[in-house]
């Protein structure tokens, strides 16, 4: 284990920043480098970020939950300030001048009277143990020159010009390519297969785990395809009927929790009771299907066993969690496992990244000394990644004479939203583990009880209602494999809440924006709503069959505030919803990189629009049938709207995570815009042309 500080001088006048968050296209490396450069008064070019590596990095949480700027950003800011403090004090003592008379400026400590010392003259690596922590004073935001500006992404120049940069590009001498032949479906046992008789390809079997390795990738793939055809399996999985997915969910036993201030508690769940002074009471049921991360790059990993140590290159969101999980399945001491992050495409949560690392490690264990690169196929990724959980939501609300919401009920039924790898116990969420000769079964899901986590994320609305009853119904056994997908429960919950707010606004005969504002006590929430309405031309007339709709949320009721306005046109004959323009207003507190924030908010809107209009995982009796981009259609260039984003600048206020903030508001904005356009309510995602046509027919 190399001793490092989160921020420390590197070679040639650079400063090294040891990340414990990964780059997944959200620009975190650039933003964190800005924070370090700011506190060190260094030009941005001096900063070198080092990707997470369990042998060096600060152990820390995964890159999840929109926590990178708030979590690592705070650590790096303080560590850089501490380093500055240390360097100035060392020079002050040596030169016998007051430390207040010194300044750190772009890699140089300036002395009063004109002298200077370069950082590399002052620093030695054994100072790692003597740099005092939490004593440096971070700069006030008023002094910022780098933080708050749209520094271009450091990784893009490479990506527009050349290859490399991704895990799939790793090359090592003596490398083997590996492929795993997976069962036709989840619960299956390998009965037999015809072993290949081919020079240069070796079979590795452990129970129902069947893999191949060889030096020639093309040969390994060809042989894997041939062997897969000969493999016979005992298949036990029976999926519920696709058309009765939600009935199945509601028919299963559930554990119900009353959610108060965002947290599920043990208080008894009260019955819904319609208040006496209700002038209008409405009910609505919303549905969200299983949806895919669908990372553009199928997951990949490289592993090598050398000298009783396992080294793994992975694009996992959590290198430390993965290390523990691998050590557990392989029966190794975690200290003998090193996980190094290498980038893959955007993952949007827990996809196949960790599973493929176990695949690589299992194959590498059978070929000690040879690095093994395993690349999942498109079909592997589509079939085996853990999906975003499906959900049913039932809302009931009442307004009184004055148009105020006097009763609000939200019941959400769903499966777990996380099966991220952990270590310990007798279970493993790593895919291959359950197929081994001595299987390690997957963990039994348990209800999450944290604030705004999983199923109940953003179920507790920010609005000030006099009476609310928010209930999380945890259903244990999902027929499909599930884990964290960007936004988690916020996508379904905010879809329902923000659609329902429009329905209540209509019942109260109050403008949808005004209706929300009346129920908000948070000025920043009001500001994003008013800003988006203004920029979207809210209230100005539109041609027939065009409409505007609003969606609002503060992610987890404590992170970024976002309002989205969708302007759509509905084609009555085809049922196609054309997204004309999406307007976004965001407040993320102190912005580190405005363009980076916009990119995340906009990317989230486009992705959530794809989920809303196109995406649902399909399956038949035994198998997933969403196996490629034709059987799992997604938003394409012809569907892309114009996008405008307005950031409300809040210098000096704590930075708020924004990477998942637009997922929730987007489906509601679209649903509300469709209602405005053609007067129909869409409550089941995705809003396919068939569903839209059917809704229009039923309405007329």
């Amino acid at each position: 284990m190399t001793r490092v500080l989160p921020v420390m001088p590197g070679p040639d006048g650079t400063f090294l920043v040891y990340m414990n968050k990964i780059e997944i296209g959200q620009g975190v490396q650039t933003a964190i480098a800005q924070i370090a450069a700011e506190e060190l008064n260094a030009s941005f070019d001096r900063i070198r970020v080092v990707a997470p590596d369990t042998s060096m990095s600060l152990e820390g949480a995964s890159t999840t939950g929109s926590n990178s700027i708030q979590g690592l950003g705070r650590i790096i800011r303080q560590a850089a300030a501490d380093l500055r403090h240390h360097l100035l004090n060392v020079v002050a003592e040596a030169a016998k001048v007051p430390v207040e008379d010194l300044a750190l400026d772009d890699g140089v400590i300036l002395l009063p009277g004109g002298g200077s010392r370069r950082v590399e003259e002052v620093w030695s690596n054994d100072m790692v143990d003597t740099v005092e922590r939490d004593v440096g004073q971070p700069k006030p935001s008023s002094a910022y020159t780098i933080v708050g500006s749209s520094v271009p992404r450091t990784d893009l120049p490479g990506k527009v010009a050349e290859g490399g940069h991704f895990i799939q590009d790793l090359r090592r001498d003596d490398m083997l390519h590996g492929r795993v032949i997976r069962p036709p479906t989840y619960d299956a046992t390998l009965k037999s297969f015809d072993p290949p008789d081919v020079d240069g390809v070796r079979v590795i079997r452990d129970g129902s785990f069947l893999g191949l390795v060889g030096e020639d990738e093309q040969l390994v793939e060809r042989v894997a395809t041939e062997v897969a055809v000969t493999a016979t399996w005992d298949v036990r999985t029976r999926f519920p009927e696709f058309d009765h997915l939600y009935d199945h969910l509601l028919s299963q036993p559930d554990e119900a929790f009353l959610v108060v201030d965002g947290k599920p508690g043990d208080d008894p769940v009260p019955e819904i009771a319609e208040p006496e002074d209700a002038v209008k009471t409405i009910r609505a049921t919303f549905k969200r299907p299983y949806q895919m991360h669908g990372a553009l790059a199928p997951s990949a990993s490289m592993a090598v066993f050398e000298n009783d140590e396992l080294t793994v290159w992975s694009h996992s969101q959590g290198v430390f969690s993965l290390r523990g999980a691998l050590a557990q399945v392989l029966d190794l001491d975690p200290d003998a496992v090193r996980v190094i992050h290498a980038e893959s495409s955007g993952c949007y949560g827990h996809n196949g990244a960790d599973d493929v690392s176990l695949d690589a490690a299992l194959l590498a264990r059978a070929a000690p000394g040879r690095p093994v690169l395993v690349k999942w196929s498109r079909e592997d990724e589509h079939r085996w990644e853990p999906y975003g959980s499906c959900a049913v939501l039932k809302l009931q609300g009442s307004v009184d004479r004055s148009g105020t919401v006097i009763d609000w009920n939200h019941d959400v039924w769903s499966y777990t939203h996380s099966s991220r790898p952990r270590s310990g116990g007798d279970t493993s969420s790593l895919l291959a583990a359950r197929y081994l000769e001595h299987p390690v079964p997957p963990p039994v899901p348990r209800p999450g009880k944290g604030s705004h986590s999983g199923i109940h994320r953003n179920a507790d609305p920010l609005y000030a209602f006099s009476r609310r009853r928010v209930v999380k119904h945890f259903v244990r056994d999902s027929p499909l494999r599930v884990s964290a997908l960007r936004g988690l429960g916020a996508f379904a919950n905010v879809f329902a809440i923000e659609s329902f707010m429009d329905e209540l606004a209509l019942a109260a005969d109050i403008d949808a924006v005004d209706f929300r504002v009346r129920h908000l006590e948070d000025d920043r929430a009001v500001a994003v709503l008013r800003t988006v309405a203004e920029h979207a031309g809210w209230g100005t007339p539109l041609p027939s069959d065009e409409g505007r709709g609003i969606g609002f949320a503060q992610y987890k009721n404590e992170k970024a505030y976002v309002a989205v306005c969708a302007h759509v046109k509905v084609e009555r004959d085809t049922g196609r919803i054309r997204l004309l323009k999406m307007t976004i207003a965001g407040d993320v507190g102190q912005v580190i990189n405005p363009d980076g924030v916009k990119n995340q908010l906009e990317g989230g809107v486009i992705q959530a629009a794809s989920w809303t209009l196109w995406e649902e995982v399909t399956f038949n009796e035994h198998r997933i049938t969403s196996v490629d981009w034709e059987t799992y259609p997604v938003l394409r260039f012809e569907d892309v709207p114009e996008v405008e984003t307005v950031l409300i600048d809040r210098p000096g206020l704590p930075s708020l995570g924004c990477g998942e903030a637009t997922q929730g508001p987007t489906p509601a904005a679209i649903a509300n815009a469709v209602y405005d356009a053609v007067g129909v309510r869409l409550r089941q995602i995705p809003f396919t042309p068939e569903r839209v046509r059917s809704a229009i027919e039923n309405a007329s």
């Binding site: 296209g25 990506k159 527009v160 990738e217 093309q218 990372a295 906009e602 992705q607 260039f637």
Partner: protein, 156 residues
């Protein structure tokens, strides 16, 4: 020993010996270490593997390397001229038109094919040229801006 296949890539000639059914993408990446063209699906459904062949943007994940022999192939690596970026590459940087960047190489190739043929494309023509290209991060609208910017720069 298979017969040699002659490939002309980025104005250089390469002689490769491999199974003639090997996809061009595999040869580019594994044999020639030109890995800007990427595997997204292996089914010609996502555009990540596109290269230019005689000026046309073509997926390389299913194209047999033998079928690409003796034709003029350009990959992303071939667009940079003496270290200086092609206007399309520069436009991507100016618009910051990428998030994870995995789809980027394929898109730039498709855009080059379009702009070389249609210097002032309409919005509809741009969308059509990129229709097969999957981006999951949601960068599409920035890419449209980058194409317009590149078209302007190339017209000058």
């Amino acid at each position: 020993m298979p017969a040699p296949i002659h490939l002309r890539i980025n104005d250089e000639t390469h002689e490769v010996r491999c199974d003639p059914d090997t996809p061009l993408l595999t040869v580019l990446r594994n044999t020639l270490r030109l890995d800007a063209a990427r595997l997204g699906c292996g089914l010609e459904q996502c555009g990540a593997c596109k290269v230019l062949i005689d000026g046309e943007a073509v997926p390389s994940c299913m194209l047999r390397v033998e079928a690409a022999a003796d034709r003029s192939i350009t990959t992303l690596e071939g667009l940079t001229d003496d270290g200086s970026l092609h206007p399309i590459q520069q436009a991507f940087l100016d618009e910051q038109a990428a998030q994870c960047g995995f789809c980027t190489a394929g898109m730039i190739i498709a855009i080059k094919a379009l702009l070389d043929r249609v210097p002032h494309p309409s919005d509809a023509q741009i969308r059509e040229a990129l229709q097969v290209h999957v981006c999951r991060c949601g960068i599409h609208h920035r890419i449209l801006k980058a194409v317009r910017r590149a078209a302007e720069a190339m017209a000058r």
